[in-house]
């Protein structure tokens, strides 16, 4: 709550600034008559409020970001010499303990030196919190006074306020770019650390995946194997099953909606099918585990086939159901974009509706349909919950859909859920997998969106 105090102060002062500015502007207007104001009084108010809020918030934010680091280095400086001489790793552990103690989590009775450091941390934190509140208050007040003094009838308050607002919106719009770079940098950074331990070639072409590094160096399998091929094959297997289910169903549904269905039927069916895409994936996963997997196992047993209880088939089929609307809705859109004249031409030459669809509509819409399939493919590759729950953990290198396989996303989840030490290759490998996933889906999306877009422009 204490961190919110400066924010609250600044907001209150900004509101005060707005009212003062508006009143001042109104006074100027009546005094300086007949010279009217350039801008409405409310813009003068906003102008003062901005002067009051922006510098104060910027400084307070910078302070809040920097303060923990400054406090930490001050506490380290104040530690007794024998503790400061510790190796970097142990010093980090010690500092973490001190921070936890200062946060109020007491694990064990601290030594006097640690206790002293904790007290110092607490004291510094108190000073910092008071300091940031004071600075924010001072800056906000100064900004308010400064802004108010600049109010003259001629002031182009509206233009200035609008420039600020536009700049703020520009800032918001860069967030998308920042997010993309944040994703790429965080994945790259951790993945590069991973590739220092495991060479890129071993990762991309290794045939064995067993990330469990042993606790002791002499234990069997302590090295850990990080060959991603079984995961990639597993992912592709599940995805191919999904596309084999969703492809025909989705495409036939799209053909029906775009060519046969009356407009009202189409307007009803399309949103209903899109419900399939709106159901949370964890629900599909539960459905797969509860209904589909046992069903396949029983049917398999009756046919004399050995179906694993966590088979790629069950996960793939359920994932296929999920991506039906991706294929059906997008394909329906592109088929609808095929010009009426082309259909009429085919019909006028005497073709039946199905001949018209096969010979004219489908070839014309083919690029868009391919794009839809690629989007569905990328969606299936990145899908997590269904495979986490319905596919297995065992990294089998197999193309038999009746076996249990594991996927890239499953491994990311298993590696990162629960307690983790952040520097082990095991944890870092999850980021390498994430980078792989991100790159592949990004490439697929760029190509697919490009195809769909170019195709759409052709007939517009």
């Amino acid at each position: 709550m204490l961190t919110l105090l400066p924010l609250f102060t600044v907001v209150v002062l900004a509101v005060v600034g707005y009212r003062l500015g508006r009143r001042r502007a109104a006074a100027l207007a009546s005094r300086g008559a007949p010279r009217a104001l350039h801008s409405l009084p409310s813009y003068h108010g906003s102008y003062v409020a901005l002067w009051s809020a922006i510098p104060a918030l910027a400084i307070a934010l910078a302070w809040l970001v920097a303060a923990p680091h400054v406090i930490e280095s001050m506490v380290v400086d104040a530690l007794p010499d024998d503790l400061r001489a510790l190796p970097a790793g142990e010093l980090d552990v010690l500092m973490n303990e001190i921070k936890n103690l200062a946060d109020g989590y007491v694990a064990r009775a601290p030594s006097p030196a640690v206790q002293a450091a904790t007290d110092l941390t607490n004291r510094l934190r108190g000073i910092s919190a008071a300091g940031v509140a004071a600075v924010a208050l001072a800056l906000a007040s100064l900004g308010l006074l400064f802004g108010r003094r600049r109010l003259v009838p001629d002031l182009r308050a509206r233009n200035k306020v609008e420039t600020a607002v536009t700049a703020a919106m520009l800032g918001c719009s860069t967030l998308a770019v920042i997010t993309t770079f944040g994703i790429m940098l965080s994945l790259l950074f951790e993945a590069i650390r991973f590739f220092h331990v495991v060479p890129l070639g071993d990762f991309l072409f290794g045939l064995q995946w067993s990330p469990q590094t042993a606790l002791r160096a002499d234990q069997a399998g302590s090295s850990g194997a990080f060959g991603a091929v079984p995961l990639i094959v597993g992912t592709l297997l599940v995805t191919v099953v999904a596309l084999l289910v969703a492809g025909p169903i989705g495409l036939m549904a799209a053909i029906y909606m775009a060519n046969y269905a009356r407009p009202r039927v189409r307007a009803t069916i399309k949103p209903i099918l899109e419900i399939l895409a709106g159901i949370p994936t964890v629900v599909y996963a539960f459905f797969a585990v509860l209904t589909v997997a046992p069903l396949f196992r029983d049917v398999g047993a009756r046919l004399g086939l050995d179906v694993a209880s966590e088979s790629a088939l069950a996960a793939g089929v359920v994932m296929g159901i999920m991506i039906i609307p991706f294929i059906s809705s997008l394909s329906d859109d592109v088929m609808n974009a095929v010009p009426r004249a082309m259909r009429d031409g085919a019909l006028a030459l005497g073709s039946t509706t199905s001949e018209m669809i096969r010979e004219v509509v489908l070839p014309a819409a083919l690029p868009g349909i391919v794009g839809a399939f690629m989007l569905a493919f990328s969606r299936a590759v990145g899908e997590t919950m269904i495979v986490v729950m319905a596919a297995g953990l065992a990294a089998n290198l197999t193309v038999n859909p009746l076996d249990a396989v594991t996927t890239v996303t499953v491994q990311i989840v298993t590696l990162l859920v629960g307690d983790q030490e952040f520097d082990s290759p095991k944890t870092l490998s999850a980021f390498a997998l994430g980078l792989l996933l991100f790159t592949v889906t990004l490439a697929l999306n760029v190509i697919a969106l490009g195809i769909v877009k170019r195709y759409r422009e052709k007939y517009d």
Binding site: N159, L187, I249, I272, F286, L416, V446
Partner: protein, 435 residues
């Protein structure tokens, strides 16, 4: 050459051949059409099967079995000194009361082992209900009351018919002896399966009969609040900037390409981003709705931006020109005219994005919202879990009783999603303007 052509032509004009060909083509047409209808039907049917299977199971999970017992609120056990002090009553041995009541109901059970089994019929949560009952009304001390107490999960499963009576004793979780007791209770009308409030008032628990979704629900609400507070203003500001103000140059092209691609990035990658940036660099706490909300906000932003831009484009240029004509500045044009007209569309897109975020699980696993949290969270910094993650956790539990709970939680989640989408559809229908 011409002979061949003439022959073909003659053949083609032969009425019998032409009729056969027409027949063949019509059959192909019918087949193709049937296939397209079948594809649609299969897709619709799977949806129906999915929903029916889940709702059926979910209704089962919303009900719980209770056992009626005549509990003697013996003053010597509850409040030996007659203080009437709630602090003393709260510490009393309510377990003993339950055991005593069971012993009174089945006096012929004598061996230690049988008695233990008998006590196992009633859930360990029964004592909290008795405690709350006494704290509400200390007047019942010294009397004997007929109280409906929650049954254990095995009894619950048996009463719902999920345990096969005909199976051999070793194969079922309820012994013959227990079945005899339950039949006796049933004959007394002292065994009842009905709608259970516990599911909505309790947090998570290791005991299926005591587990509820309150904690996950509150966690979801907190997370969604953070997501909405961050994603909505940022998304709307971005959409307005790109649609109304941005110059056409390489920078805005880059932003556009970025947004379109971000919308298709797998959600788990956002989880990795949250883990690497929010937890490891910024140092925010694990499992907190604040971090979950931030991650989901980044994930929803592209969806909101795309929907917002579509809504803004739909406002005709004449509105803007008229406003400019009477002297409004560019920002006033947007703030006073374009944005209010586009708002229903923007809200629709936002609600749909929020519905998607509400059902999202994978990125939240990355930032540690999978912890077993019993307490209901009170703020965005508390450890919490959300509905979909709760579903995941319960679905992974080995007890059969959690299947019903999972399905019931899914029904609640789907209820929220359907409501949100319903609101979105209503907004679109109600406020949509055809220019």
């Amino acid at each position: 050459m011409t002979d061949v052509l003439a022959r073909d032509l003659a053949r083609a004009r032969n009425p019998a051949v032409a009729a056969r060909r027409a027949h063949r083509r019509r059959a192909a047409e019918a087949r193709f059409r049937a296939a397209s209808v079948a594809g649609t039907a299969v897709a619709l049917l799977t949806l129906v099967v999915l929903l029916v299977a889940l709702v059926g199971q979910g209704l089962d999970g919303l009900r719980a079995t209770r056992v009626a017992l005549d509990v003697a609120f013996d003053a010597a056990t509850v409040d030996p000194d007659g203080t009437g002090d709630p602090a003393v009553i709260a510490k009393a041995d309510f377990n003993a009361l339950v055991k005593e009541a069971l012993r009174a109901r089945f006096p012929d059970v004598t061996t230690r082992q049988d008695r233990k089994r008998l006590n196992g019929l009633v859930s360990s949560g029964a004592l909290y209900e008795l405690r709350d009952m006494l704290l509400d009304d200390p007047g019942v001390i010294g009397t004997t009351q007929r109280v409906w107490l929650p049954a254990s999960d095995d009894v619950d499963q048996f009463a719902k018919g999920h345990i096969d009576r005909a199976a051999s004793e070793a194969e079922r979780r309820v012994s013959d002896q227990e079945i005899a007791w339950l039949d006796a209770l049933e004959a007394d009308e002292a065994l009842q399966t009905r709608f259970s409030r516990i599911f909505f008032t309790a947090g998570d628990s290791r005991e299926p009969e005591l587990a509820g979704i309150r904690g996950a629900l509150v966690g979801s609400l907190l997370t969604m609040a953070v997501t909405a507070i961050i994603a909505f203003p940022l998304g709307v500001a971005t959409a307005i900037y790109l649609e109304e103000f941005a110059p056409r140059n390489r920078w805005t092209d880059l932003i556009e390409v970025n947004i379109n691609n971000l919308a298709a990035v797998p959600s788990i990658v956002f989880g990795l981003l949250g883990l690497a940036i929010f937890l490891n660099v910024v140092g925010l706490p694990r499992s907190a709705p604040l971090v979950g909300g931030l991650v989901l906000a980044l994930m929803s932003l592209p969806v909101i931006i795309i929907a917002g831009r579509a809504a803004l484009t739909a406002v005709p240029p004449s509105i803007r020109e008229a406003a400019r004509g009477v002297g409004a500045s560019p920002l006033q044009v947007v703030a006073h005219h374009v944005l209010p007209l586009a708002m229903p569309g923007i809200l629709t897109g936002t609600i749909i994005a929020m519905a998607r975020a509400l059902g999202e699980t994978a990125p939240l696993l990355m930032i540690g919202m999978v912890a077993f949290v019993v307490d209901v969270p009170t703020g965005p910094m508390d450890a919490a879990t959300v509905l979909p993650v709760q579903i995941y956790l319960w679905a992974d539990s080995p007890e059969r009783a959690f299947v019903g709970k999972t399905a019931a939680a899914i029904v609640v989640l789907l209820g929220f999603l359907i409501t949100m989408n319903g609101v979105a559809v209503y907004l679109r229908r109600r406020f949509e303007v055809k220019w």
